[in-house]
Symmetry: C2
Subunit: 325 residues, 2 copies
């Protein structure tokens, strides 16, 4: 029996169903929740969509988004749940408490690290997004795809591939995107809302960070700072800092881009991005942090100057090793 | 006889062939030149690829790009030419002088305004890029598509759709992208080089512009300035200013983004971008400029302050009209 067949058996009896994704939801988490919720309701199910965290404003255009409830506001406990885009059960955050102890949980995800916490586990690490898996299911089951469903799935593909720019952008992703556009969705408006739109505060933070931009003599490392007072002044949420570090990495010839930001008087959060030479996951690990080869982070006690010194000297020695290989 | 059949007849005799695109070439112009040159050489033709302007550094990864010659360095005059992505013959710039007076010219383009200056005209306004038309031809003729050819065509699609974000991103564009990725091209590296990579100078210009960012009281208009001395200090080419105006337009709630930049002591160049309310093409026309509804520009004599005043008051009155409708 393939994974979708198990899921279909589950759907024969499951009702009501809780649909949940990870806390601090990204485009894929939100879109997957909405797409799954939409199809289940078409199938006549009583569905509650929930998240621990509020939905970022830039996703407010998504059809049905106002129906995703905050965990706090739900009192019901569910015998059936579908967890989306969660590599482990903890990623659901406080939504876990809405799932009955012996509930049947369907775990649909594309993270290779998924620990198979579900009763039924549909894990496809080769998928670029959980939305991609949902679209596979929708197609296999021959559910009709209207604009509302297409807009949700498209948003998931778009965001988890970084606007079709990351290495997970497969031929299949484009084939799915082509089919979704045939429903008549205005993909340019989705891209505008999700990928282009910024707040005034984000630009003010970016400007402040860029005013501190420095590059190493060899041109391989670029870094920027954000002081606590800048963040207090301009950032409404942690999200507002997203993407700033990429500006350093994106400079022609740079391999490692770094953002140092003061979180309080004695701690500096460090974000790393790299192109191909330095494994910044390893680098971050040296400071007790973590992440991937191309994107990682850590926290360092001390002043900005101390953090600069410790991080930049290690980056330089890693680069020297790389150049010697 | 369809357009491609005429083109095939042309190819029976044409040799040597000049392949040319528009001056200040963008990704589509460069990619189309390389893709066409590559296929014609596979067909055994003697091909000279040429452009009036140097190729921007960010396209230097494209296979064969070093073979595109500057018009100045070519002394031969050609009896056959293929003009790509040029809405009129003037767009070839000085390359026109390399085409014999009674030459047979094939005009392949996707601009709706194309004036059909060719002997054979293959104009497809519904195509997102000239590269899309070339891929149609390649497929119809059943030419093999290897990675080198795929990388070129992909780059053309990618750049002319603004990374698949503009409204010209059709289902067909995604279908073509899916096929191109099947050759094994590393599309994420192309996106990185072409869409993400910036120069230090571009970031310095961006930082300077952002430091002047202002928003109207109603939040519908945002604008920035660049003074002559900033541009002299940081910009290597006009290209370095590209995209800066988008930051103003992209602010949440803003409809019109404007960049004012001093070109000399008494002239201000004004770039406009808009979301949906104000037709900035009309707006620019009021000042003797031009463009489209969503992107336009003009030049205004006077100081920055005078330009602000004249432009912003007209924008406000257009917005008032819009809101009254
Ligand atoms: Mn995901
Ligand atoms: Mn073009």
């Amino acid at each position: 029996m393939n994974q979708f067949e198990q899921f279909h058996l589950f759907l024969e009896n499951a009702d009501p169903i809780l649909v949940v994704a990870h806390l601090y939801p990204d485009g894929d988490a939100i879109s997957s929740t909405l797409a799954m919720g939409y199809v289940l309701r078409q199938l006549g199910k009583k569905v509650t969509m929930v998240n621990e965290s509020p939905i970022p404003q830039k996703f407010s255009f998504l059809p049905g988004v106002e129906e995703i409830k905050l965990a706090d506001s739900v009192s019901e406990i569910f015998p059936y749940a579908i967890a989306l885009d969660c590599a482990d059960a903890e990623r659901m955050g406080s939504c876990r408490s809405l799932i009955r102890e012996k509930a049947i949980v369907v775990n649909i995800d594309h993270h290779a690290t998924n620990d198979r916490y579900g009763t039924i586990n549909i894990i496809q690490p080769q998928a670029a997004a959980t939305a991609e898996i949902i679209f596979d299911w929708v197609e296999e089951a021959d559910f009709p795809v209207d604009r509302q469903l297409a807009a949700c799935i498209y948003t998931g593909l778009l965001t988890d591939t970084g606007g079709f720019r990351y290495s997970n952008t497969s031929s299949k992703v484009f084939t799915q995107a082509a089919k979704l556009l045939e429903t008549g969705i205005e993909s340019h408006k989705i891209a505008d809302a999700v990928l282009e739109t910024v707040t005034m505060e984000q630009l003010q933070l970016l400007q402040t960070a860029l005013s501190t931009l420095q590059k190493s003599e060899d041109g391989l490392v670029a870094w920027m700072d954000l002081r606590k007072q800048d963040i207090d002044r301009f950032a409404n949420s942690h999200e507002d800092l997203d993407g700033i570090v990429n500006y350093a990495r994106n400079i022609y010839g740079v391999d490692v881009g770094i953002l140092f930001h003061e979180t309080n008087d004695r701690t500096i959060k460090v974000s790393f991005r790299s192109r191909e030479m330095v494994d910044v996951g390893n680098l971050a690990k040296s400071f007790g942090g973590g992440g991937h080869a191309r994107a990682a982070g850590c926290s360092i006690s001390g002043t900005l100057q101390e953090a600069h010194h410790r991080v930049l000297s290690l980056v330089q020695s890693k680069l020297k090793q790389e150049c010697e290989v």
